[in-house]
């Protein structure tokens, strides 16, 4: 009986290993990040890898931290297209250093940035050009639950930029300056907050990023610079990007210029790696695509197809000529 159980255990263990090996070889899982450009890039990758290189692809939902953890623990998803390097935590950086994850490129989008934004009309009217200018006027951005204080909207739970926001809140000594954190709860909440505030002509201050259709459509300016400039990589990666307990003494700094990378699990097909490491979008192309997405209320998949149909001169440079022919054929 004991023997029997042992055999079954061994066989099932082998089966599971084999199955995961097969799944790994044939099925490339791509994380769809839950913001517009992240989700569109996932669909573009999926289409090109599927139709250009003949791999089966699967889109899986993703978030920044959860996806990295899942990649480390289960080697899946295999590709995450739009990772903001500055928002990566220590565990991700360690994994990239020791080779358990691979940074295939750090230039997915040119001219991108995250940080603190304000609506353009408010900036013009009161001459607010830097973070310090804004921090001096909490009265222009009242917090909904305590209007005597200024409210700064930060990243929702699960986005690693939440830590950076909280640490910067501390670094700029914002509590003493009459500010309070405004938690959006989710990406949806964050968007609705910006959209609602700008529509109602109210002041709003806090986190967003570019390129996004939002920044263009709502006329947000940012990321705002700081008078202290960028206070060095060490301060950022070893303090601001970490949790509050790990960052006892954050220094005030402006947000670093953003590098956006694609992270893959090791052992992917070389042609796929070649493709993801050469593809690079110009910020203006992404913005144009996102504005198109908004205007047509398109899904991420629609946008990906629209991109492939509209910009063959861009994506054909990323792939081998044979793959380009196959993709063009499948599009028609």
């Amino acid at each position: 009986m004991k023997h029997y159980i042992k055999t079954i255990t061994i066989i099932s263990a082998m089966l599971i290993t084999m199955m995961s090996a097969i799944a790994k070889a044939d099925n490339i899982k791509i994380a769809e990040l839950n913001w517009q450009s992240g989700s569109m890039i996932a669909y573009i990758d999926s289409y090109i890898i599927k139709h250009g290189y003949g791999h089966d692809t699967e889109i899986v939902p993703g978030g920044i931290d959860a996806t990295i953890q899942s990649m480390l623990a289960t080697n899946s998803p295999n590709i995450v297209g739009e990772m903001w390097i500055s928002s990566l935590g220590d565990n991700a950086l360690t994994a990239l250093n020791d080779g358990s994850l691979v940074l295939s490129t750090d230039g997915v989008i040119g001219g991108a940035g995250e940080g603190w934004f304000i609506p353009q009309d408010v900036a013009m009217e009161y001459g607010l050009n830097t973070i310090e200018d804004v921090l001096a006027r909490p009265d222009l951005f009242p917090h909904p639950e305590d209007p005597s204080k200024g409210g700064i909207v930060i990243c929702p739970e699960g986005w690693s930029c939440k830590q950076s926001n909280l640490n910067l809140f501390k670094a700029f000594d914002m509590e003493a300056k009459g500010w309070k954190v405004l938690e959006p709860g989710s990406g949806t909440g964050l968007n609705a907050h910006w959209e609602g505030s700008v529509t109602k002509g109210k002041g709003a201050f806090g986190y967003y990023w570019t390129p996004t259709s939002f920044v263009g459509r709502l006329n947000l300016v940012g990321p705002l610079p700081s008078e202290v400039g960028f206070a060095g990589d060490d301060n950022w990666t070893k303090c601001i990007a970490l949790t509050g307990e790990e960052c006892a003494n954050p220094q005030a700094t402006q947000w670093p210029a953003s590098k956006i990378g694609t992270i893959t699990t090791p052992g992917l097909d070389q042609v796929v790696i070649d493709y993801v490491s050469t593809r690079t979008f110009d910020g203006s192309v992404i913005t144009a695509m996102l504005v198109w997405t908004d205007a047509n209320q398109a899904t991420a998949e629609d946008s990906a197809l629209h991109f492939l149909n509209t910009y063959p001169e861009i994506w054909s440079k990323w792939v081998t000529p044979e793959a380009a022919t196959k993709i063009t054929a499948s599009l028609n």
Partner: protein
């Protein structure tokens, strides 16, 4: 061939966009007005929450135990309440539980104040019954994100949109149960009351509502349960409390935090549910005895 002959894509997009622009127009013209209109409720909620958090824990435990004893006289329930709240406190969930309790209590009050009159209207008027019933179905089945986004655009982030989202989802049971409770009241009793010369308002208050009392309380119980279930969704638009902790644990993959905050919500739900049931049972016993 097999595709459904749908409208032109441009027509559909145009339709969707016109809804968007109409709503944006509405939000920019009326957003402030609505926010002002609901500011008393906002004030109530903020201060109720502050009060609950500021109350020392032993006074809170004492007062609620006393309340439970008055309403149920069930010492097992009180023991369960004390144990679970002490555990909640030990695991550092006290403040978040108070925040959740505050929003659930206020939204339940809103549901009762709005829901019971609507339920009475439904029971008395068949046309109203026919109109309101499908609306209740809609409120319970429409995915909450559909109205979360417009609500946040109108009211901004935080408690008020959360309160509205919770109330929309949680109000149907109290309306349905009030309606059913009143419709189930024995006709003979109503006629007897009429024969005794009672005005219809008095019949409603003295006879019908008191006979339907347990059913209505059952509806309120359901409403509270649904409000608790909505707490996590509400946290997605910036409501703090246990829901935000659950969201936090989902976003970061913190299993332990998820279990602790999830179980705190369960504890709240079970205690409130058992308290109302136990109270109903006691009330029934008393009535049968008399």
């Amino acid at each position: 061939m097999a595709n459904f002959p749908s409208l032109e894509k441009e027509t559909i997009t145009g339709f969707k966009k016109s809804i968007d622009s109409t709503f944006r127009e509405f939000a920019s013209n009326w957003g402030e007005w609505f926010t002002e209109l609901l500011s008393p409720i906002h004030w109530l909620l903020i201060h109720f929450e502050k009060l609950l958090i500021a109350t020392p824990w032993y006074i809170f435990l004492g007062l609620i135990s006393l309340l439970l004893w008055k309403t149920t006289q069930n010492w097992k329930l009180i023991l369960g309440f004390l144990i679970s709240f002490i555990l909640i406190g030990l695991f550092g969930m006290w403040d978040d539980t108070m925040r959740t309790l505050a929003i659930v209590v206020v939204s339940t009050l809103i549901c009762i104040v709005i829901g019971i009159p609507i339920g009475i209207l439904m029971a008395k008027n068949n046309l109203a019954h026919k109109i309101i019933l499908p609306i209740l179905d809609l409120m319970q089945t429409i995915p909450s994100f559909v109205y979360l986004i417009p609500v946040v655009m109108l009211f901004g982030l935080g408690k008020i949109p959360g309160l509205i989202a919770i109330s929309v989802f949680a109000i149907p049971p109290v309306i349905r149960f009030t309606n059913i409770g009143l419709r189930e009241v024995n006709k003979d009793l109503r006629e007897t009351a009429q024969a005794l010369g009672l005005k219809s308002f008095h019949i409603l208050r003295l006879v019908e509502l008191s006979l339907a009392r347990n059913v209505i309380l059952g509806g309120i119980n359901q409403t509270i349960m649904m409000a608790l279930a909505m707490v996590v969704i509400a946290s997605m638009i910036g409501v703090r409390g246990l829901g935000a902790q659950v969201l936090n644990s989902i976003g970061n993959g913190y299993l332990g935090l998820g279990v602790i905050s999830g179980l705190s919500i369960v504890a709240l739900a079970i205690i409130i549910d058992r308290a109302i049931q136990s109270h109903n049972k006691r009330y029934d016993k008393w009535r049968d005895y008399k």
